[in-house]
Symmetry: C2
Subunit: 368 residues, 2 copies
């Protein structure tokens, strides 16, 4: 790609270029000029691709109603990967988008086979952290998949008529009745915002990790097939890279030791960071001589995704590494200090959100 | 079976004995003694089998809440086969059962691919005829599958977790997403009555044609699997023979010329009857000599199912036929006269029901 040596995070994009080519996801660069304000995720290509986001930006520009929708699977606890989505929502809300967050508790129950009461409890936590991250609950809606009403559920039911087993298998592989219902439920999550019952047509963008595109493909097909009958239109979507865990693999709720959770004790977070995989060399001498490899470094990824907002500062961090001027120990201590401050501030807001009782006001629980 | 020569309708039961054996449907004879009142459908084995109907009758006997639920596919127009179900509902209601009728408009839309507006319109007709047939709307509920609320739809969603593709294929053959959703919707129709939201536990019996048993098998399995989580219990079911068309095949909405519809012009009904297949012989002489074969006769079936309530009178009709004393022409004229009177009376009540506006009061339409 020839873009490897640059501090803006392009270095990992090769893994995603396949997606761009294979499924017709467009490079985000196309639309950067139409963004009313810059954001580091776009500048740094953390958000690397999109479908029809240009249409969403046009709608925003022309003062039409726009919304951003995303779903959280309430298993495990929110971590810095979850926070990337919070940050996208916060930014798009600041541009004037209505925010809608769905807690995918039906999917957690059906496909992940979790207890209903557990996922409902954890759903509250995902919303509390979202508000603590800066999402304005006054300009947002939050719901459980299992607490919705007739019109929403009817979409699920109607969608089942216009999709074949072969089409769903092509997208999801081996099917079960549960997978089918859960997938149609996701499509209803994305498309129900367009119904009059839910405020009438709004152009919706869905920010997702690159691995979530299959759901978007199903949803776009269903929107096409119900355009005439229900007036549904394709959603837009933007695609962000996955934040890797501190061991260099995908950050996952199922491997907590390699993830920074938003409610981690700051000292625990420090320990995790000090054990994290870096782009350092075998020896200090070697590193002073050859410089580090930030594009392999999970700490540098934290700088890019969360810890350094200023681009010139990020360039400095990058240069200090590749020139070998700053070694991993010193660099990690700087990251630790910033992360701990962020966590302490976030957790303070999080406690305020919980004690304010706002979540119970904005998130109606299912009746059973 | 050795029961061929008997006027009570046993003659056709061989076709159904397989069902009894194969799927553990019990002969209705078991429970006849526990019926608080007789009804010709039970006496004549038009209702020939049951599952757990004894439990339902026990509940009734002990003053517990009992209900009867059935669904109508709103395609075509109600005919004398539909009226058999109306009659079962009317009788069970008269014993003290709460009646619930579902218009299967979701299934008509998904599986039969009908227009939503058409099925909603026809649903009104099925309910109007039910009330005209004598079902007391004060002791009944009526609904469209597409006009239900959260708790009902959640059952559909939850059911999808605890059933496999192999199990559904074993019951329904080749599957589509639509068939899966429609089948789980039927299970929710039968089981939702047990939820607190809908009045709390009631022992439910479902009267069905023998061909509908697969839905009951699925529903019983789901009830077992959700007994612990939702407190669901297996429904009871009773099985009636299918009224054959006037050509001796199944009476079907798709072959109107061989079916008597409840809104048929009485003179049209007369023509249909005069063309009907009988158990007559090749010539009048032969018939006087050998007698007719009522067990082959679609007219005699109308006597058994609808036109003759008194058993001794039915025996007389039967004897007149098998002894050759009365030939088909005379017998048909008697049937025509009775049927026309029934149709005229029913259609008069039907018009009263429509003009009273009661259906709009008791049947809430879906919002789209």
């Amino acid at each position: 790609m020839g873009v490897k040596l640059d501090p803006w995070g392009h270095y990992a994009i090769e893994d995603y270029v396949k997606l761009l080519a294979e499924f017709g996801i467009h490079p985000i660069d196309e639309v950067l000029g139409s963004l009313p304000r810059k954001h580091m995720y776009f500048e740094r290509r953390v958000i690397f691709g999109h479908r029809d986001f240009n249409l969403w930006l046009d709608a925003l520009k022309h003062g039409e109603k726009v919304a951003v929708l995303t779903g959280f699977m309430p298993s495990g606890r929110p971590h810095l990967g979850t926070a990337m989505v919070y940050e996208e929502l916060r930014f798009l809300q600041s541009l004037g988008a209505h925010v809608k967050i769905v807690i995918a508790d039906a999917e957690a129950y059906i496909v992940r086979r979790e207890e209903r009461s557990d996922v409902v409890k954890r759903g509250v936590d995902f919303i509390a952290h979202a508000i603590a991250w800066g999402i304005d609950p006054e300009k947002a809606e939050f719901y459980y998949q299992t607490a919705m009403d007739n019109e929403y559920y009817r979409l699920i039911q109607m969608f089942s008529r216009k999709i074949s087993m072969a089409e769903m298998e092509a997208i999801y592989g081996e099917l079960t009745p549960g997978k089918i219902v859960a997938s149609l439920t996701q499509a209803a999550d994305i498309l129900h915002l367009q119904l009059d019952k839910y405020g009438g047509y709004r152009h919706v963008v869905v920010p997702v990790g690159a691995d979530q595109d299959p759901h978007l493909r199903l949803t776009r097909d269903l929107a096409d097939r119900f355009e005439q009958e229900l007036g549904l239109k394709r959603p837009s979507s933007i695609y962000h890279k996955l934040l890797r865990g501190l061991d260099g693999n995908k950050m996952s709720k199922s491997r907590p030791e390699f993830a920074i959770h938003l409610d981690d004790d700051p000292d625990l977070a420090e320990k995790k960071l000090l054990n994290a995989l870096t782009g350092g060399r075998a020896t200090a001498d070697e590193q002073r001589r050859l410089g580090g490899e930030p594009w392999k470094c999970s700490i540098y990824e934290l700088y890019v995704y969360h810890l350094v907002g200023d681009d010139s500062e990020l360039r400095e961090v990058y240069d200090e590494c590749v020139t070998g001027r700053v070694l991993c120990g010193q660099c990690k201590r700087r990251a630790v200090e910033r992360l701990k401050r962020r966590l302490i501030e976030h957790q303070e807001r999080y406690r305020e959100v919980l004690s304010s009782g706002i979540v119970d006001k904005v998130l109606r629980k299912p009746s059973f």
